[in-house]
Amino acid sequence: MKPVLFLLLSFPLLGALLVSLIGRHLSRRAVETIACTAVAASFILALTAFLLSGQKAYSLTLARWFAAGSFQVGLDLYYDPLAAVMALMVTFVSSLVHLYSVGYMRYDNGYIRYFCFLNLFVFAMLVIVTAGNLVFLYLGWETVGLCSYALIGFWYEKPEAANAGAKAFVVTRLGDVAFGIAIAICWVTLGHLSVSGIHDSAAGIDASRAGIIGCFLFLAAIGKSAQLPLSVWLPDAMAGPTPVSALIHAATMVTAGVYLLMRFFPVIQASMPLMAVIACVGILTICFGALGALIQKDIKRILAYSTISQVGYMFLALGAGDVAGSLFHLIAHAFFKSLLFLGAGCIIQALHEEQDIFRMGGGLRQKMPQLFWLFLAGTAALGAFPLTAGFFSKDRILLAVFLQPQAGYKLLWVIASMAAMITPLYAFRLFIIVFFGKSQSPSGPAKASPTSVPDVMTRVLWPLAFFSVFLGFLNLPLNWAGKEWLAQYLAAVPGSAMELHASSKMESAMQLGSALLTIIMVIVACIYYGTRVESVETGTETLLSKMQALFRNGFYLDRLYQTRITAPYRAAAGLLWQKVDAGWLDAGLNQSARSFLTLAETLRLWTTGRVSRYVSMMVAGFALILCSLTLAWWYLLI
């Protein structure tokens, strides 16, 4: 197992090193080949590891890292069914995104930097997935943040891209402060940092201590997974290349926070209040993201808000104690959301970098028929259309929330179900406006007819579309004569053994209900968005327009942070420098130096040139020195 896991990690790292060090001397084709091969090899190894491991958990150490006193950290790995599923998903989606990128970035000259960071990202993501202790996990955690930063700001000459990269890094780093503190608390209270060790000791710790550790881990997860209140960086992160948005900001990195909580779920589980908080943050984020996605015009921002909302479901599932459901939705989401992003990338490139769905001229159904079907598959899965992957995964989460005994969870279930009705609405709004919209849009003339995109870009979407539609069979509910394969497979993972005690009748009723609601919402979306064009801004402040502005601007959260935190912090930095450091501290110290100068000037007046004066001064001086020496001597003796 050790060599397999070692190679699994080393291939993408090696790819990144090769590309960055000798990429300049290689042809473009060679760089692309190295990058894609590295990730593909990693996928094959992930598959091998999955087949070899069965349901066992492996703890192994690759090398020692650092140690001081009793504190020791190694490059440890921990591989169990949870890591296996994640590693498969990460390497699979990464391989497809790498292939897609070959097409998407075909005219870009920064391809060395691009593939270097993309390979490095896969490495770092795999470190997160397979890390055996918190500090090594933190290495992966920070490195994905770096890659995200570098790739969001890939087109660094555009100010918004450069700003978005820095913003993403700082905001996620805010969560990482909590990660660091969590590491320290774990070390001090539990005495070890290894995944298996934390699992073992989680059984014995009291709820409050588990709550504190879990709380800091949760804060770290909020930052990475763009949950409220740290969600502000993700919409801006769309300034990066679209394949990057698909891989990092939809399928993998933003779900790393969810994975972190799943990994240490025994600790999280020990604290009921924390579970409730996670569920509440999840539900708030679901609504926040769904309402935001409903009103955006930029295709990538719609998908970004949708990601925020969907990751909220994963948090909700964790808050309801359902690790398998959370992972199920995570995997399903990874497939359908990367499909949608990559599909959006095709559209954007075909329409000469047009991202406004109202300016896409509509009628893409005839012009891009293949993409139409692919996009439909992704939209249906996102909208939880019956029998798609999203349908089964979302249903399981709702069921898990409903089955929680506390009364509060029933309320959460009601809100989550209502939010689940918005999802098909915004998903099909996007789909219908892009593919069926009227070509005469009021906000500007339609662009020229679409150009074709390379075949590779559409070809890689087919496997994603396949999984978006059929992945539900991975974890078919019991009333479908399914075996809940995924949940069974995960049963050995600490903290994830959870039985959903629902009668077959109740399960069927809930499925039927949500299927009906979804179909109704799809029909509503088709009628509502199919028959009208974008509403003309009238300039009058109606309640509706105010609401729309509120949703479009993400509840003004971004502006709030800008005016209340960023701007004052910057201004205070200037004041602190000019007024306190230079104006007060430095000036004060200079002044004291100057006062010595003044003293010296005064003393200079004594140099009168008269010898008698000098002699008397000398005598006085000697007397002074002798006195002080005597005093010092006396003081020392006592």
Binding site: A68, G69, T143, F169, R173, I181, W187, A573, D586, L636
Partner: protein
Amino acid sequence: MNTSPLLGTIVFLPLFGALAALLYWHNERTCRLLALTVMLADLVLVLFLFTLTPHFREPAGGNWLRVEDFSWMDALGIRFTLALDGISLMLILLTTVIGALTVLISWNEIKEHVAAFHFFLLAMMTGVLGVFLAMDVFLFYLFWELQSIPMFFLIGIWGHERRIYAAVKFALFTISGSLVMFLALLGLHLLHARQSGETTFALHQLIQTSFNLPLELTFFAAFALAFAIKIPMFPLHTWLPDAHTEAPTAGSVILAGLLLKTGVYALLRFAFPLFPHAAQLFTPLLLILGLTGIFYAGWIALAQTDLKRLVAYSSISHMGLIIVGIAVWNLTTLSGSLLQMINHGITTSALFILIGMLDERLHTRRLSDLGGLWKTLPVWSGFFLFFSLASIGLPGLNNFVGEMLILIGTFTRQPWAAAAGFIGLLLTVVYVMRMLRESIWGEARISPGIADLTGRELTILIPLTVGALWLGLHPGPALELFGTALTVPDLVKGLPILTP
């Protein structure tokens, strides 16, 4: 105990080189080559020291790798004692590496009074090496002064526009600190002579001195003041931004890479062991000043417009964390602080070197003049990004290990201080992100056609890059060296190193 004076050779080789450089004042190239050869030879000697294993228990029951003791001014009790343990070894390695690099850095930058420049540079190296090795307190004081005076000239002669102001400021701060220390040193010597009847300046003997508390506090304050100015600790830091901004690149590199480290080292080696009770009383103050420094300087760094000044403030902020590690005083934090001294020496030196290279090309360091450098200078920008990431503590690079050890060790004793330290790291991210945003990213404002890094410049940067990666991924050997040196029964009398 007395063997061949290997350590003595290492210390004085640069000084001989300095004198020799003066002889070749008419031939600049020879001067440079001579200085480089001397520093490289010194480096080789230091590398040889890595083959040693600790086997000296004396003086003071230490884990010494090598001890050299010669009589010198016996009447005054001053001996020529040099001793090497793991801490000194890593620091003199850093010194000789940085020393060799500074000669290379100045290859094109320094064009006037070349012989004098190298004279001061090499003389300073002797001072720094001596500080890291001297075990006789008087000898230590001599080296302490020897390292400061050449810096005054380096800034004052080869500096930028306001060099005289910066040099005088540097000199006034340093001298007032070391003067107070010297008085306390003499007092300590007299007191010890009074108590034991021996006239000596040997550290391990002076440690035996017993004090009444007010006197011990006074002496500790006097020593700590000199060291705090050098570190520099908030609020005595104001000389540093000016000194850095005005110094030539080599001056900045030595300042950040070496001189600041001597302050921390002396605190650890002299002030704490000599006055343990006073030190214990002072640690809360040190902790608070260290934390204040992290936040204060980290915050101010955000407002800077001059790249060099920005890195200077970041340097103060980073030194704050090292002080926290010293103040908490357990094996984990001390190892972390010592490692962080090396790390900071690598990372900050590299940033100053890179800024110097930029200045040579563009003749500006103002952030508002830069932007989009990745387009024109991709290799330079790659290195700049790399070392910026090291300085924000990206795991896998050097600073992370030191920061982690300091903060974890601090957490075992002072959880709130550690939490504050973690938050302090965020401030670093904020100003570094802004620095990168306005220098390498953004619209290109520099006209194309400026040459990227040359072979000489790569030769300077690659060792630092390797060092950053090595200490980030495999810090084990270095930490072992520190650990062996720190786990001495009475490195600090009455203040044992606390193992968590």
